[in-house]
């Protein structure tokens, strides 16, 4: 019988009961011949038992109401997305007489510049990122066609950044309507299913070149910037520390030469 040498990894897999029966038997007979290794392995197994024992009771505790999954699902149905809640609140304010002015000032404040773009991106994210039937209109496989189409509509050459270095794949894109005209949406996802949206559209007036700024609307956060007349924003439901390097990568790739 020719045996593969027993490795440190085998010893841990033995402790964790993760070996195939044959290999397990091989390790067991090795341990019979090497008592000092066997005592180390036995100590690891004892640690494992003690840890499991010490923590076992937590899993037996009754769940508090906040962790009732049916409640969480119900609450979510009632409150689809925090971003939409904010819009609804603004519209409600708008209905009131005095409220009308409040809304006007809010809208004016945000209606130009990067914050408007970031807000449009957050709303776009809210609509399309949870969509599991048709989040994008044109798939990544037709990205050449997509680039041509949106570049025509935006009257500016639009680039599709490659985010594979960050672990994200292009799913595809679509054209979306904003109060500042058409914008190109690109959607990416990673192996965990986390989705990112990149929204880009021409910027007006003095906003044509603006440094990168962090943005957030509800629970959607990201970064926005403008280069050579085109505004860009990257948004997702991830920590800003995670999004920042991705935004930098997009900026690097999309920058006009």
């Amino acid at each position: 019988m020719s045996q593969r040498p027993i490795t440190e990894d085998d010893l841990h897999a033995y402790v964790d009961q993760a070996l195939e029966p044959e290999r397990r038997a091989e390790v067991a007979s090795y341990l019979d011949e090497h008592p000092e290794v066997a005592s180390r392995v036995a100590a690891f197994a004892k640690q494992r038992e003690q840890l499991r024992g010490a923590l076992a009771s937590i899993a037996d505790e009754p769940l508090p109401a906040e962790l009732n999954l049916s409640h969480i699902i119900e609450n979510r149905k009632r409150r689809p997305l925090r971003g939409w809640g904010a819009i609804a609140a603004m519209l409600l304010l708008g209905l009131g007489g005095l409220g009308g002015w409040t809304m006007r000032s809010v809208l004016q404040e945000n209606s130009t510049g990067l914050s408007a773009l970031a807000q449009e991106a957050a709303y776009t994210y809210g609509v399309y990122a949870p969509d599991h039937v048709r989040p994008v209109e044109i798939r990544a496989s037709d990205s050449a066609e997509f680039t041509k189409w949106v570049s025509n509509r935006l009257k500016q050459p639009v680039k599709v950044p490659d985010l594979s270095v960050a672990g994200y794949r292009l799913m595809g894109g679509r054209l979306v309507a904003t109060s500042h005209g058409p914008a190109a949406m690109l959607m990416y996802d990673d192996n965990r299913g986390d989705r990112l949206v990149v929204l880009t559209r021409p910027m007006s007036g003095r906003n044509q070149d603006t440094p990168m700024m962090p943005q957030s609307t509800g629970d959607v956060a990201g970064f926005a910037w403008a280069d050579g007349g085109l505004g860009y924003t990257l948004v997702g439901q991830l920590p800003t520390d995670t999004l920042r390097p991705i935004a930098n990568e997009i900026r690097k790739q999309a920058r006009p030469i």
Binding site: Q47, I58, I72, D241
Partner: protein, 172 residues
């Protein structure tokens, strides 16, 4: 939504246990699990094929890491004495309770990344490949961290054991 209920609900006790063993604070841990479940509900359809267990632990672990970072940034420091083993060990006989408290205080002294690996593998029964996914590192890194965690836990135990032996001898 039905399949989500069926697949996620049975895993909640394990998520709670992992969160509490990492955070060592019942309220903070349950908040984290609640956050995790809300995200799981909203992203259920974005999930790729693969283990639901690994997917949930990934969401939870990332939330915990973010929390740790914020806590560190705010300068709040949790000392080892403050570790809250009381919170962790509840239903166990007196003698057993002392052993459990001891192993948890030694666990608390491990670096965060080693603690996470040991909990995922030895307590939560994740495969090495799934643990690697949760932690976002290669399997080789999982193995080396696991090995270091176990050696370190053992060294401390031997240290304590040596003390006991000496004490016993001096009694004679």
């Amino acid at each position: 939504m039905k399949d989500m209920l069926v697949q996620v609900e049975p895993l909640i006790p394990a998520l709670r246990r992992y969160a509490r063993a990492l955070m060592r604070d019942r309220a903070a841990a349950d908040d984290l699990v609640q956050d995790c479940l809300e995200r799981a509900v909203s992203r259920w359809h974005q999930r790729r094929d693969g283990s639901v267990r690994a997917w949930l632990f990934t969401i939870l672990h990332n939330l915990a890491v973010t929390q740790f970072r914020q806590t560190t940034a705010r300068g709040r420091h949790m000392s080892i004495d403050d570790a809250g083993e009381q919170e962790l060990v509840s239903a166990a006989a007196q003698e057993q309770r002392l052993i459990y408290r001891d192993v948890l205080s030694r666990l608390a002294r491990l670096p965060e990344e080693q603690r996470a690996v040991l909990l995922l593998v030895a307590v939560e029964d994740l495969s090495y490949a799934d643990a690697a996914k949760v932690l976002g590192v290669p399997v080789g890194t999982v193995m080396s961290r696991l090995s270091r965690a176990r050696e370190r836990l053992q060294q401390e135990m031997d240290g304590a054991g040596l003390g006991n032996v000496v004490a016993l001898r001096s009694l004679k």
